[in-house]
Structures are given as C-alpha cells and as structure tokens.
C-alpha cells in the first residue's frame, strides 16, 4: 500500500511527468510504452483510492503549492489574453479580463488570499470523488492508449510533414491529472485552478489540427468556459463577502444560513452547466467535434463535461429542498429533451454522439435537481455507465472514421459487411445507451421513477426517451443495410484500437451485470456522501431493491422497484447474442431484395432497371426531418427557452437570498 501522499501525487502529478516525457520522447514505440505505463499506474492508483476509502489531504508545504497554483493561474489567464489578442477574438479577451481583474482584486484587494490559505483540508477525497477518479483513470486512460495508434493513422492520412502527435498526447495525458485534481479539490482556488487547466487543455486539443474551423471552435470553447470561470470567481467573492468558508465542504456543511448561500451555489452550478454544455451553451461541445476523435472521447466520457455534472452533483445538498433545485431539474430535463430532439436531425455521426452526451448530462443534472436519494443514485450510476458507453462509442466512431475516412452517417451504410467486428462493438455500445438490460437504461429508469414528483420533468424525460430511441436505432440501422451476399471478412485492426474497445465492452457488460455490486461497492457510499438526509438504500442480493423516499405515498420502505438484473442479461443473450452466433443461412437461401420486380442481377447487386432500361443503384437515405427538427428550425426556440430557464434559476436564487436577508 502506498502512502497517501504518494497516491495523491500519482493521481495528479504522475500524469504531468508522463505528459512531459511523452512530449520530449518523439519515438512512436517509446511514447506508446510511456502512455501505457502511465495508464496502468493511474488505474491501479484509482483502485487503491477505492480500497483506501474516504480521506482528506493537505500538501505538506502548503505555501509553496499555493504559490505555484497562483502563479500558474495568472499565467493561464495571461495566455488567454494573448490568445484573444492574437486571434482578434474579442469575446476571449473580454472574458479573460473578467476573470483576471476580479481574481486579482479578490486575492490581493479584498484579502481573499489569506482566507484561501486558511482553508483546510485542501483536498477531500470522498466516495463521489473516488467514483469520478475511477471513471477518469480507467476510461480516460484507455482512451489515451487508443490515441497512440489513432494519431499515427490520423497523421498518416493527413500526410503531415512534421508529427504533432507528441504534443497531442502531452495534453491528453495532462488532462487526466487535471481532472483528478479537480474532483479532489476542496479549496475553491484549487478548484478554480484545475478548472482553468481543463479549459486550457480543452482549447489546445480542439485547436490541435490548426485548421481555421478548429481554431474558431477552440476559441468558442475557451470564451464560453471563461464565462464559467468568471461565475466561479464571483461566487468566491460573494462567499467571502458573506463570511462563508471558501471550501466545498464549508459550503455543504452550511456554515451560514443556507439560503444566503443560494446565489453563490447557483453561480457554481451555472459554472458546472457551462462545462457540461447545457443549453444554451451546447455549441462549444458541438464545435469540439472538429478535433481528432480521442479528444471527443475524452471530453465526453470521462473528463471535461463530467467535471460540470460533478460540481452540480457535489453541491446538491446545498440547494436541496429549494426552488433552485426544481429549476436545476428543469434546466437539465429541458436540455435532455431538446438535445435528444436535435440529435434526430444530425447527419454527422460525431454530432449525434455530441447531442446524446449533452442530453445525458442534462438527465444527470436533472437528477441532481430532483435531489431525492433515488435521483442522486440514478445520477451517479448514469455518470459511470455513460462514461463507459460513450467512451466506447467515440472510440468506435474513431475506428470507423479510419476505416471509411468519413464521419457522415450516410457513408456508414453497410458497414456490417465491411467491418463486422467494429459493427458488433458499435451495436453493443448503441444498445447499451438506451435499451434494457444495460446500465444507461437502469439509470434512466430510476430517473423516471424519481421524476414522478415533478410532472413537467417527467414529461420532458419521456419525450426525450422516445427521441433517443429514434436517433440511435436510425443510426445503427445504417450499419445493417447490407446486400444479401455472403462472405464478410472480419477486419484486422491494430491492438491499440481493439484492446481499449474490448475492455470497454467488457466494462459495459461488467457494470451492467454487476450493477448491484457497483451499487454496493461504489455508488451507495457516494450517495451517502451527497445526500445529507434520508435513510441509506438497501440492497438485496443480485436484485436491487430501492426502498423509501416515495414522494406521493408517505409509507416508508415502499418498494418502488425490485428487479433482478442478471436474468435480463440472459434474455438479452437469448434474444440477440445467440441468434447472432447461430442463425446461419445457406447461400442458396439468399435472394435479392424486392425492387418491384426490376432487379438487375443477383444477390450481389443493388441495381434496378429504371427509366429507359438504365441500371440505377438503390440509394437509401435516412429520416432527418431537418425542416422540423433541424438546428435552424429548433434553435431559436431552444435558445430562448433555455435562457429563460437560466434567468428564472438565478431569479429564484436571488429571491431566496433576499428573503433570507
């Protein structure tokens, strides 16, 4: 067992060291070995955290670290100013200034620095943080391993003269450290620091390809997240002005009357929502799609956006039982619905994935807003399941991109014949996003059960669920459109692709079948960390029985749901896997499809005789409803409504604060 300070160092500083090494060593294989070693170290380390359990940590020479953090903070902000000026992007510049000026004023003018230095402990490693750490370390590391080969192929395809892969891997590995620091941080200035580091890395990674589009989108991500940074600083200022402690555990323990703290809490949640790309701030995450796919995988599954939902979830006790809580639920639920609807009209695979991420983050935030123990359980389970499934889907998208060199859904037609292996993995990933017996559905199921107290949220949930079915099934359907001919060969892929893919598939089935163990081992304690009131949730054997917390019925220990999960996996196996393996067709049984009697040829052709006996290919285009559900048609509405919801959210917080004073 490592000493605790070593564990902290491995979690936060090892990625920094590994990143620097990767940057210096520009040899493909050596670089790969370092990434793999760092990944293994991080995974082992995160498991050690799990075994160790809840703890706090303050660095030994705190003053030195405070100084480092402060200096780096200002360096980052100065870099933003430089970016704003050199790109002539005034939004970046303005929001960099709105950060650096209040921060300097707060730290040195108001004397916030002394208050911050007094915060103890600097890091709080509770069970929620451990869950996050596991997600970041395991899923994030696998994505970094995937990126080794991906970047090689990527640059090969682009015919780059000078490899920039080491720079790319540098930021990727660094990201993991920053995220670990973020979820452990208790001191708000540390939180702010890691927050800004993730924003910075995000900017660097999005801009990696250095095309005009990439740089523009990176700048957009930068200024949007800078708004969040500004909100965080304002929250700190208010907290300091009210005499509240400048630490997360301080806010949660409710040092001052909690209603007074509602505005800073709302600001912090706002910061989290921007990072979680909630409407109307979704465009930065959509823009981030221009980056190489491992970046998207990292941003979506384990890092960046998860930081946003983590913060909202972390603060749940601070706004429990208030109207702010209901508003947060509605903002999340609205995002869930709007993003699911918009996903239907998307023609690019990665944009569908992006909207799906936004939608699911909305669901998690809505669960945090519903704020019952059941909802919080759902939220934490969703974070885990979403990270695994979405990580897998993005890696699949990346692999597919390198097979067909396109991101368009229409181009993925018939991949089941061209790349059966990836198709199977992708199908598992897709099914795990919205269908029983997989984890995401279990989370959504719990969310729906808990949402029965807020009919509006329930309404948004069910519509979003239906839309979810449509866009996933539609996309998966593209893969399956194959000609009847036999003899598809399994494609060969680099181990750097397949190992992370298969491990994530294993993870999907693992956390799905073992959801009860995941619950008892991880989630239960994390929920207990977040939920301050109410009884602990009971678990029976393989089945997951959630007791209590019925909003309508006052009866305690009323079973809301009791189902064994593993029989559903048997059903799944009987329904999908066994037919998949055993349904065989003899070549003689294959017939071409029905084309009104005008097929031109046998089973290997999709042509028909058209006007004037000309052979024409069948072309199948999916339904996208761009006129009704397209961004152009829906965005005016979604922006308006989401901004109104945000404004009401702040108004509610302000009113509560005014009332308390």
């Amino acid at each position: 067992m490592l000493p605790y300070n070593w564990m902290m160092a491995v979690a936060i500083l090892l990625p920094v060291v590994a990143a620097v090494l990767v940057y210096i060593i520009r040899q493909y294989h050596a670089r790969g070995v370092i990434v793999i070693l760092a990944a293994i170290a991080l995974i082992v380390n995160s498991i050690l955290f799990l075994l160790h359990g809840k703890d706090t940590f303050s660095p030994a020479n705190a003053q030195m670290w405070d100084m480092v953090v402060t200096v780096l903070d200002y360096l980052i902000l100065l870099f933003y100013i430089y970016v704003g000026i050199s790109l002539k992007n005034w939004l970046v510049l303005i929001f960099a200034l709105t950060q650096i000026i209040p921060l300097a004023w707060f730290e040195f003018g108001m004397g916030g620095r002394a208050a911050l230095a007094n915060v103890s402990p600097t890091f709080v490693v509770d069970h929620l943080a451990i869950v996050m750490c596991l997600v970041i370390s395991i899923v994030g590391s696998l994505i970094c391993v995937f990126a080794i080969r991906y970047m090689y192929d990527h640059e090969h395809h682009l015919h780059l003269e000078k490899s920039r892969a080491s720079r790319f891997l540098f930021w990727m590995v660094l990201f993991l450290g920053a995220m670990n620091g973020l979820v452990f941080a208790n001191n708000l200035i540390y939180l702010y620091f890691f927050w800004e580091v993730t924003t910075l890395i995000c900017f660097q990674l999005i801009a990696h390809d250095l095309t005009k589009e990439a740089i523009d989108n990176a700048a957009r991500a930068l200024w949007m997240n800078s708004i969040g940074g500004t909100a965080l600083i304002i929250a700190m200022v208010i907290l300091f002005a009210k005499g509240a402690p400048l630490s997360l555990d301080g806010i949660l323990s409710g040092g001052v009357a909690s209603a007074v703290l509602l505005l800073p809490v709302a600001l912090l949640c706002f910061t989290g929502m921007i990072k979680a790309a909630q409407l109307p701030f979704q465009s930065w995450l959509l823009g981030a799609m221009v980056a190489p796919t491992p970046v998207s995988a990292l941003l979506h599954s384990s890092t960046m956006v998860k930081a946003g939902v983590y913060l909202v979830l972390r603060l749940a006790p601070a706004y429990a039982g208030t109207r702010l809580s209901i508003m947060i639920a509605l903002v999340g639920a609205f995002t869930f619905m709007a993003a699911s609807g918009l996903a239907i009209s998307q023609t690019t695979g990665k944009r569908v994935l992006a909207y799906s991420t936004i939608a699911n983050l909305g669901l998690i935030i809505a669960c945090a807003g519903i704020n019952t123990p059941l909802a919080i359980t759902a939220a934490i389970l969703l974070i885990i399941f979403h990270a695994v499934s979405k990580g897998l889907l993005f890696l699949c998208a990346g692999t597919i991109e390198h097979i067909i060199w396109s991101r368009e859904i229409e181009d993925m037609e018939g991949l089941a014949a061209k790349a059966p292996l990836v198709t199977v993995i992708f199908a598992i990933g897709v099914l795990s996003m919205f269908l029983p017996p997989f984890g995401m559905l279990l989370g959504k199921w719990m969310a729906l059960e808990s949402a029965s107290t807020i009919p509006l949220a329930a309404w948004l949930f069910v519509i979003a669920s239906a839309a979810t079915i449509v866009f996933w099934a539609k996309w998966l359907g593209r893969f399956l459109q194959v000609l009847p001919k036999l003899g598809a060969k399994i494609e060969s892929l680099s181990l750097s692709y397949t190992v992370p893919l298969w491990l994530l598939v294993l993870g999907i089935f693992g956390v799905g079948i073992g959801v009860a163990s995941v619950y008892t081992g991880l989630v239960q304690n994390a929920v207990a960390d977040v939920v301050t009131s109410g009884q602990a949730l009971a678990v029976q054997g393989w089945g997951l029985t959630v007791n209590g917390y019925s909003a309508v019925s006052s009866t305690a220990n009323f079973a809301v749901g009791n189902y064994p999960v593993w029989p559903l996996f048997i059903v799944f196996a009987i329904a999908v896997l066994i037919p998949f393996i055993f349904v065989a067709i003899k070549p003689g049984e294959l017939r071409p499809v029905y084309l009104c009697g005008e097929q031109a040829g046998g089973t290997d052709t999709d042509e028909w005789y058209s006007t004037a006996d000309v052979k024409t290919k069948v072309q199948l285009g999916g339904y996208y409803f761009q006129g009704v559900l397209g961004e152009a048609a829906l965005n005016p509405w979604t922006y308006t409504l989401s901004i109104v919801l945000m404004v009401i959210m702040f108004a509610v917080a302000l009113l509560a604060m005014g009332g308390a004073l």
């Binding site: 239906a466 079915i469 749901g561 059903v571």
Partner: protein
C-alpha cells in the same frame, strides 16, 4: 416454482389466444366490409403454411433481429403475467420494437427501410404515452409493480381514465390498424407494400405473425389492468377495446406519419400530462389540508 408454471403456461397459451383473436378480427372486418370472411382458424392455417415454405432471406442480420423481437415480446408478456415492474415492461416492449425496426433496416431494401423509419416514428409517438402510463400507475398506487395494481382496491380506470383514452389511441398504432397502419399493414395495399416486413418470407414471416399474437395478448393485458379487480371485467373491457379498434380500422383512411405524431402528441400526451398534473395538484392539496 409457481411463477415458472405461470410463465410456461403463458408462453404456450398466449399465441393460441392471440391467433384466435386475429381470426376473429379478420372475420369481423370481413363482415364490416360486406363480405363473408375467412374461417376463424385462418391465422393458424397461414402460420403453418408459412412454416412449410422454403426459407429465403435477404440478409443474415435480418433474422437475428426477428428472433430478438420474438424473445423480447415474450419477456414483456412474462413481466405482465408475473406481475413485475410495469415501467421496465414498457422498456422491454420498446426494445422489442427497436429490434423489429432494426430488422427492417437490415437489408438494402427501400421498402423495409422506409417501413423501419416509420416504425421509429411510431415509437416516437407511442413510447411517451406508454411511459406516462407507467408513471400514472405510480401516481395512483405509489408503486410500479403490477402486483400492486392487482392488490389495490380502486381500479386504475377510476382516476386514470384520460390515460386510458390515450392508451386506446396508441393501441391503434400498436395493433397496426387504420388510420395508423403506417409501417406495415395487414391489408398489404400500401404504398410501402408490406413496409418493414417486405423482406421477410416463409418461416421468418411466420415468426413475425407469432410475435404479433403475443403482442395482441400483451396489449389487451395492459388494457385489462385498468380494471384489475375483478379481472373478468378487465378482460371484457379489453375485448371491447379490441372491437373498438376493429371498428375504427374500418371507418378511417390511413393517415400520414406526420399527422400521427402530431395527433398522438397533441391528444395522447396532453391527456396523460393533465392526468398526472391532476394527481400532483391533488397530492399537494392533500398535503396542505
């Protein structure tokens, strides 16, 4: 052990009930059209005839999804008869629908492709109503368990009648009756030929028929939940609902997909939401007093 017996009996008996109902459907439809109609046992003849046809297929993936469709439909039915969680049953029913749609996508046929897309649009229309139905059950009984519905002295319909009406609307979609026989239809005089089923033939088509029989039983079972005590009243109501669907089938033209989604969302979902809001307000008033 009791549950096992119920499950096995259900799996064996349900298709007979479903096939019989389908036979009655065809006879009554014929009478409504001024014809004599086929024998009541006609669906069974069709089924066995199809089993005896040679197997032909347009792709291997197609068949996999159709088995999944059948297995999941049976699973959903077992959830009903074993009185388990109604919300999860709806999700499994949704999975079955997705499998059916994916089966339609699994060949390069324009008609089954368009049919599958329409099936997804149908799911977009009916899935919210089914989920809201489950939430309505929760609102009344405080539980998602179907066993609680049977245990409860007040029938669901007494407070959930708006949701019941919404259920009747989507029953038309699920039973593929006019005006919503969009993705595929029993009459086959359709712009999409047989829509999603176009590429299935012989024994595989028989599997779809079998699944539909299970589906009929399942759907009527859901309808009968609205008067679960005594059960026979529920069954009578379910059969009445079935007759109503046949009647509607014969007095309407087929509508378009867009109209269906608009109609179901405007009427069905609104009814469900009003019902739930009423519960919410009711609970709030009770909480105050």
């Amino acid at each position: 052990m009791n549950a096992w017996i119920i499950a096995i009996v259900t799996v064996i008996v349900a298709p007979f009930i479903g096939g019989f109902l389908a036979g009655i459907d065809r006879r009554i439809t014929a009478r409504l059209q001024g014809r004599f109609g086929p024998p009541i046992l006609q669906p069974f003849y069709d089924f066995f005839k199809l089993l005896g046809k040679s197997k032909i297929a347009a792709s291997r993936l197609q068949l996999m999804w159709i088995y999944a469709y059948l297995v999941l439909m049976i699973t959903a039915l077992l959830f009903l008869v074993l009185r388990l969680d109604i919300l999860l049953m709806m999700f499994i029913l949704g999975f079955a629908g997705v499998c059916f749609a994916l089966g339609g996508f699994s060949s390069k046929s324009p008609y089954s492709h368009l049919g599958a897309n329409r099936e997804l649009m149908q799911m977009l229309a009916y899935e919210p109503v089914l989920l809201l139905l489950a939430l309505g059950v929760y609102a009344q009984n405080g539980s998602f368990l179907i066993s609680q519905i049977y245990a409860s002295p007040t029938p669901l319909i007494s407070r959930l009648w708006p949701i019941f009406i919404a259920l009747l609307v989507i029953l038309t979609i699920k039973l593929r009756k006019s005006p919503f026989d969009l993705a595929t239809s029993h009459h086959a005089h359709q712009e999409l030929i047989k829509g999603i089923m176009t590429e299935y033939s012989g024994p595989y088509y028989a599997l779809i028929e079998l699944t539909e029989w299970y589906e009929i039983v399942l759907l009527l079972g859901i309808v009968s939940l609205f008067v679960a005590n005594p059960l026979w009243v529920g069954i009578v109501i379910a059969l009445a609902a079935y007759l109503l669907e046949l009647f509607v089938d014969n007095v309407t033209a087929r509508m378009t997909v867009g109209w269906m989604v608009r109609f179901v969302w405007a009427v069905g979902i609104t009814l469900c939401i009003l019902n739930l809001i009423w519960f919410w307000v009711f609970a709030a008033i009770k909480g105050v007093s």
